[in-house]
């Protein structure tokens, strides 16, 4: 069933879809839904506008905690309200008081429901170690602030058109998946290859997923208890520990480049941005 609509070439959601340049594909009925996380009101307003300009639905929250609440990943907040919540992309600021974007990224990647959802980190600091850390944790991309239209256009690459119009399941929070040990049934392969029947094999602990080096081992244990995503002690961070300027390095990247583009994208970008 999930093979429907799949074209032979696109087997990786990271590939630019054929309509990568077409920001408002006429045959796409469903708008992408992006969750934006930033403690700065101004930045939230700007990113919201940027995303809406590229025809995305946007939900903007002001902290990592609120993001987790929205995604239904906070223990006592789990409710039917988040059933069927579809989030196609999460974009978060790195430097936030309380929970940093990195910590939020980790929690998302540890969750069963949203670990397949692409997460992009934004930061005003071009710190290579920071970028590496985020990529290692599974972030799709790292955007240097201030965010421009060309950056946001590039984000569409992480939201495959096929995924959206087929009502794919990654990024969809289903109540069923949150109960019991379903983590192993989640394939690490791209969403298109997942079939709805995979959720029914939730009782099996044997891993049917491709193993990737950075899957947290703790997620495959404790079959009867919900994964407590808040108890993981994060590295001690002050209000804005990440704000210390470590490198006043010049930004070597042009508007179409991101620190990760050259690592991840094999297809040359065809978007002729003038910014």
């Amino acid at each position: 069933m999930m093979n429907m609509g799949r074209n032979g070439v696109v087997s990786n959601r990271r590939w630019k879809s054929e309509s990568g340049i077409d920001l408002c594909p006429s045959d796409s009925v469903v708008e992408a839904h992006v969750l934006a996380v930033d403690d700065s009101l101004i930045d939230r307003k700007v990113i919201e506008r940027l995303l809406k300009t590229t025809s995305c639905k946007v939900t903007a929250v002001d902290s990592g905690m609120r993001a987790l609440q929205y995604l239904g990943l906070v223990d006592d907040q789990r409710s039917s309200v988040v059933d069927g919540l579809k989030v196609d992309l999460i974009i978060t600021d790195y430097c936030m008081p309380g929970m940093t974007g990195y910590e939020l990224l980790k929690k998302i990647k540890e969750s069963s429901t949203f670990k397949e959802t692409p997460v992009v980190i934004m930061s005003s600091e071009n710190v290579l170690t920071r970028i590496d850390r985020c990529l290692e944790e599974g972030a799709e991309d790292f955007i240097l602030k201030p965010v421009k239209l060309s950056d946001v256009k590039r984000l569409k690459n992480y939201i495959s058109k096929d995924d959206r119009s087929n009502g794919r399941e990654s990024g969809v929070n289903k109540r069923k998946e949150r109960d019991g040990c379903d983590l192993s049934s989640e394939s690490q392969s791209p969403p298109l290859s997942r079939s709805p029947s995979s959720e029914s094999s939730s009782s099996s602990l044997s891993s049917s997923s491709q193993s990737l080096p950075f899957i947290s081992p703790s997620t495959s244990l404790s079959p009867s208890e919900p994964l407590d995503l808040l108890s993981t002690p994060s590295s001690p961070s002050g209000p804005l520990d990440c704000a210390t300027p470590s490198s006043p390095s010049p930004e070597p990247y042009g508007p179409l480049d991101s620190p990760t583009r050259r690592l991840k994208m094999t297809v040359p970008d065809q978007l002729g941005s003038t910014s």
Binding site: S40, L41, I42, D43, K45, V46, R49, L50, K52, T53, C95, S124, K145, P146, V147, K148, L149, G238, P239, L240, A243, T244, P245, P248, S275
Partner: protein, 152 residues
């Protein structure tokens, strides 16, 4: 030349000068491109938010520097936030002041911070008055039936 054309010409010149003098940078032009029929007042709204935010931050910075024992990391946090917001709207000179500010914080240099705060306030005041003037010009143009020129 009628009044609308005069105002439009003046608007363009004024906007250009703000760029040339680095009060604004390319990021502001980006924001202008985002305004459209569904969000015609986008720039005005963001800039207004920026004013509110900035005044709060300047107040926080002053208070933090008035403490008997100055917590420079807290001061740096405020400066970092200010740097972020000014950078997001393209307020170039204000942003540069914030960068300087943070450098003084790293050195725990109280005098440097205090001087920087004064300069920062000054930059902010000038920028704000320029924006207010710009918005007035816009209103005049619109009131007289003209359209706001788009800057390339």
């Amino acid at each position: 030349m009628d009044i609308v054309q005069l105002r439009q010409r003046h608007y363009i010149d004024f906007m250009k000068s703000m760029h040339i003098e680095n009060y604004l940078d390319d990021q502001f032009t980006q924001l202008q491109k985002l305004a459209d029929e569904s969000s015609p007042d986008f720039v005005y709204e963001v800039v207004t938010l920026f004013f509110q935010d900035s005044e709060k931050l300047i107040d926080n910075l002053s208070k933090a520097l008035e403490q008997p024992v100055v917590d420079f990391s807290q001061v740096a946090n405020h400066a970092h936030q200010f740097k972020g917001s000014s950078s997001s709207i393209g307020a170039h000179r204000v942003k540069n002041q914030c960068v300087k500010f943070r450098a003084y914080c790293e050195e725990n240099n109280l005098e440097g911070c205090l001087n920087c705060l004064q300069e920062l306030q000054q930059e902010y005041i000038v920028l704000k008055s320029k924006f207010e003037y710009l918005f007035e010009l816009e209103q005049e143009i619109l009131k007289n039936g003209g359209t706001i020129p788009t800057m390339d």
